[in-house]
Each structure stands twice: as structure tokens, then as C-alpha cells.
Symmetry: C2
Subunit: 353 residues, 2 copies
């Protein structure tokens, strides 16, 4: 018996954005406005995550979610990794940093899982793969709903089988990392509307739609296509509550095209095209999180200088729409605009009756 | 002063599908059901097009559109073309055919333009580029509305400037050729929902949304996102009125993934992945319609044998949803389902009030 979908004033979920933009303040603001906030556990230690959860609870009594990475240790091509590191050496010298040590880690999965179970957060969502039935069972035993991010129908079936309570459908439009279980070119690169319809026709779990949604009509669209809620990331990145770096904020809302690339992390992710992508995309190996650690000092140095040329400027395809307003205002505005958009669509369809 | 958008009983446009599937019978069936049918002029002679238009007019008194290719003669890499022809030789021998002569032609643009002006069809849409203001002016002078297919915001601005009366927004989900003005990797590969919102915010022309729409909730979604109508291609390809080849019909509605490829025509197009794409995609040159003519005998031979391995199985990302039913039934069903989907979305949004 799956856990029921949370009752939300507005059918809007704040996407967890690991690696900087997410903050407890952003999570709480969205919750307080009547949406569903998420804490991004990725790249945090279990202790930091515990502090984040505690801080959200200081700011709101509303339920919220925590997103965990479920990364598996796939075989990587060490020779390709070494070659990639060589290619990055001139840039490292230019920024005056040493490249990081490429390595695997599972983002402290077990400690974080134990923590969210102990904390009994309302929802735990997973990205990069589907945990085992046993892991989802541990969440259920602690009264926690389990959501799994999927990018194609087969992943949706696997997650449903494993016991997921809801699916987060990530369209190819989405900013940041693809949640695709296996990082293979072309795999899980489906437009959000098509993905929604392909999964909705044979799956009765609640579906949360994400990817390229940045305003009220976009939310209305995914609800019309059968989603229970819209998950939005990029469009929260310029909120005052977000910890997005200055150079990243400046790039959002502009006309820059985005692309999928493994150049920053070794896993396909969508970001605004910049010189780092232009130069290194072609030969970046499939090796996550190895390449993430390799490039971390470079990206950090670039962020420190406010230099967008070597930052992973994660952004969804609709980033030109992103506004600089408090998260709560956005949630309320989007919901009102979504209602107006639905009314307009209803009139369009009725005119033919 | 732009031409007004046609009054439609159902906000559904049948996408022109050049190269086989489109027939006057399909066009007329959609029109008779209260949608808007299109005649695909591509790859037809002006005489054949004239006969197609006459046949549609025998079958329906409703207005319909004609789609013209607006191809420009870009520089192609002759060496790459020759190498590609060499790579295809073994397959040509296997099928017992000679490869075609790779060449440019403009699909008889001027004759077809003169014809549609003389025939005073209701709407002419363009694919592969935006015609000049002068060409659009000729249509207007003959009482014809001009629609232009676009795949990114910049193309939308150019078409608006040139005098288009409506924009057909083609999301990356769409089957068949990308309408992108310049065929460059990554250019115009935006998910439909994001594309709609990016263009709708600054453009007041009526927008027709296409790409991966194959059912009523999909239609409802694009209307909610601001489209005046949904354009649907793939989901009409298994209709009895369509002339889709048998092997192509069989592949539609299955689970096969799709990919963008230049292997068949020298221009990015989306089809169901088959051995021809697997083998030849990596080195297929950018040379349209040269490669189209080069591979035509191969594709024709494969179709004749009912062999899907070397056919261009054009299909949008939602092709698994495609049903085998008469076009008029589909139009009516989709419209009813779209209304129900809008009603469901309205209830979802209201529950928070």
C-alpha cells in the first residue's frame, strides 16, 4: 500500500539542488508558501545534512523532503580519466590550483539513510538510480514516503516494482544532472510532456513532473498532462533564499543556450554553455563522481573569482524565464498564473463545442 | 496586420508528413472532423501537389494548409559525402540497388509557391527556414496565411520579423526532420514545453505546438502552456487514411527508442533506432537533401521488402502511444480527452484554494 501523496496548497515542489543553490531557507520558504520544499543531501556530510534538517524545522512546521544520491560504483576507464586530467592541467595552472583526486564515493548513502530514518522526514527522494526494495522498506517502516527520479518508462517500471510511492519524472529539459540510472548517451533524453504521457498511461503512482518548468503556464501544462505536481529547480536559483553563486545568478535569465555535458562531473548534466564546456565536452569521460572531484578545485576557484568561464552553470532549458524574487512570492504567483492558464485552455477547447 | 488564426472545432492540426505517410484522404479526414489538415508538398512535383490539392477539395469543403520546404543551398563537404557513399556501398550491394546521386535541389520551391498562390489555399506553412518578407507578402496578397516552423526563440523572432502569421513550435520530441534553420548539433533541441514558454512570453503571434503530442492530455498540456493548437504527426501515421509503409506501421506503437540522426537524409531527423542508424549515424555528413537522394534507393528497397532495418522510421518520442484508428475518430477522442484533462488540472489547482 503506497504512502499517499502529500496535501499541498500549491502543487509545486522545489527541486533539490545539490552543490550550492539549495539552502534550508529556500526549502522552508517554499513549504511556508504552501509548496513542498526539499533538502539536497548530495555532497553534504551526514552531520551537515542533520544540521540542514534541524534548520528547516526551526523555520517551518510543514513537511518537507530530503533528496539522496543513489550512485552505484560502475567501472570507469582509468586511462580516459588520466587523459582528461592531463587536458585540464593548463587550466588548473591558470587558476593556480591543483586538480582534485578522482575517486568514487557513494555520497555517504548508508549514514544519510540512517539519518533520514531517525529524523523521520516526510519524504525521501532518490536520484541516479533506484534503491533496493529493502532500502525503500526501511523508509516505509519509519513512516517515510519514497520517491524515485526516473527519465524513461523502463526506469519508471523498475522504481514501481521496487516499491516507490511516487515517481519524479525528469524531462530532458532539466538543469543539472540527468537522473538516468545508467549514464549512456541518448538514454533517458525524453521531452517532459512525452515522458509524462508515456508513463501515465500505464502507471498509477503519483507523478511529479520536472524539467524546464519555470512559470505558471508551465505548471498548468504538466498538471493537464497528468502530473500531481510540478518540480521546479532552476527558477528558484535566483531567489534571495538560494545560495547560488554570483556568476551563476548572472548567467541565469540570459539568452545563453544550454547543453548536456560530462565535462564537469563525468555524468551528463545540463548547463549554460561556456568555454569550459566548449573546450572539454568532446572528450570528457563517463566517470561519476570521479570527474566531479577532479574538477572541484577549478570550479571553486572560478566561483571565487566570479568567473563564469569554468563554473558548472547548471540550468534548465527555460532559464531565460527565471526571475529574482523571494521563493514564497514565486510559488503564489505561479499557482495563480497556472489557474489562469487552465481557464484559458478550457475556453479554447469549449469554443469548439 | 496578421491573418487571423482559423476557427477550428478542435484545436488540432495534422502535421504534414512528407515522404509517404501524408495523403489527401488523411488531410480531408482531419478537416472533416473539425481539425486542420495539411498537405505535405515535400518531395512531390508541382503537378503531384496540384493533384493532391484537388483531391482534398473533392473530399472536403473545409480550409486546409500546404507545407512547403524552404531549403537553402548550404555548402556541403563533398569529401565527407563521397566517404559516406563508400560506407553505404556494401548495403547497396546487399539490397541489389545503386545508390542515388547526391545533389541539391530546392524542392521546386518557386513552382510550388506559384501553385499555392494560384490555388489560394487557406494556409501555407514552411519548414527548414524562413522565407523572405517578399515571399510571405506574395502569400498575403493572395489571401493566404503564412506559418513558419521554428525550433528556438531566435528563429521565432526572425519569422515574426519576416511577417509570419503564426509560428509552429517544433519541440525536440518531434518525429522526422528538425525544422531548425541551420542544421547544427545542439541547435533547436529544446523540449516543447520550455520552447512554448520561452517564445510565448515575448511573442503575440498564435503558436501551434508540435513534438511528442499523441493524446488528449498532451493536447491539453500545450493549450495550458499557451498554444492555440496542437500539431500532431506521428499519432496519425497508423490511421487507415495514411500511406505509412507496413514495416513503419509495425514499428510505431512499440517500445523502440528514438534518436536524432543525419544517416538517412543529411539533416537531423528523429526516427526509431534501427541497424541503419546504429551503423551509420556516427559519420553521416551534414548535407541535405544530398544524402536524402543518396539513400533513397536503399530505403525504397527496404520498404519494398518490408524490412525495417534500413527504413527511416520517423517517429516522435511518444510513438508508443500511437493507435490504429481512423483520423476523425482520433480527433474527436483527443479533444474530449483534452477537455477532461483540463478539468482534472483545474480541480488539482482548486484543491489548494
Amino acid at each position: 500500500m503506497p504512502f499517499s501523496f502529500p496535501e499541498l496548497v500549491h502543487p509545486i515542489v522545489q527541486a533539490p539542488m545539490a552543490g550550492g543553490p539549495s539552502t534550508p531557507e529556500l526549502t522552508a520558504s517554499v513549504c511556508e508558501a504552501g509548496g513542498l520544499g526539499f533538502v539536497a543531501a548530495g555532497y553534504r556530510t551526514a552531520e551537515q545534512l542533520q544540521a540542514d534538517i534541524a534548520r528547516v524545522r526551526e523555520l517551518t512546521a510543514a513537511p518537507f523532503g530530503v533528496n539522496l544520491f543513489s550512485v552505484t560504483d560502475a567501472l570507469v576507464d582509468r586511462v580516459a580519466l588520466d587523459r582528461y586530467a592531463e587536458k585540464l592541467q593548463p587550466l588548473a595552472r591558470r587558476y593556480g590550483v591543483r586538480l582534485g583526486e578522482p575517486r568514487f564515493d557513494d555520497d555517504a548513502f548508508e549514514s544519510k539513510l540512517a539519518l533520514v530514518c531517525a529524523e523521520r522526514v516526510a519524504i525521501v527522494s532518490f536520484t541516479f538510480g533506484c534503491p533496493s526494495t529493502e532500502v525503500l522498506g526501511r523508509l516505509h517502516a519509519n513512516g517515510i514516503a519514497a520517491w524515485v527520479t526516473v527519465t524513461e518508462p523502463g526506469e519508471g517500471e523498475a522504481a514501481t516494482h521496487a516499491g516507490a510511492d511516487a515517481l519524479v519524472l525528469q524531462g530532458v529539459e532539466a538543469g543539472g544532472h540527468r537522473g538516468t540510472f545508467e549514464d549512456i548517451d541518448g538514454r533517458g533524453e525524453i521531452g517532459l510532456l512525452a515522458l509524462l504521457r508515456l508513463i501515465a498511461r500505464s502507471n498509477e503512482l503519483p507523478l511529479v513532473a520536472s524539467g524546464g518548468i519555470a512559470d505558471g503556464p508551465g505548471i498548468a501544462a504538466v498538471l493537464a498532462a497528468g502530473a500531481r505536481a510540478a518540480q521546479i529547480g532552476t527558477a528558484f536559483m535566483r531567489c534571495p533564499e538560494a545560495a547560488t553563486s554570483a556568476a551563476h545568478r548572472d548567467a541565469l535569465g540570459g539568452q545563453g543556450p544550454t547543453a548536456l555535458t560530462r565535462a564537469f562531473s563525468g555524468r551528463r548534466a545540463r548547463g549554460i554553455v561556456n568555454p569550459f564546456i566548449d573546450e572539454h565536452n568532446a572528450y570528457a569521460p563517463t566517470a561519476y563522481p570521479h570527474v566531479h572531484y577532479l574538477t572541484a578545485p577549478l570550479r571553486s576557484a572560478a566561483r571565487g573569482r566570479g568567473d563564469p568561464e569554468a563554473i558548472n552553470l547548471w540550468a534548465g532549458q527555460a532559464h531565460a524565464l527565471v526571475e529574482q524574487r523571494p521563493a514564497g512570492e514565486l510559488v503564489r504567483q505561479w499557482s495563480a498564473d497556472a489557474s489562469a492558464a487552465i481557464e484559458q485552455a478550457r475556453r479554447n477547447l469549449m469554443s469548439g463545442d
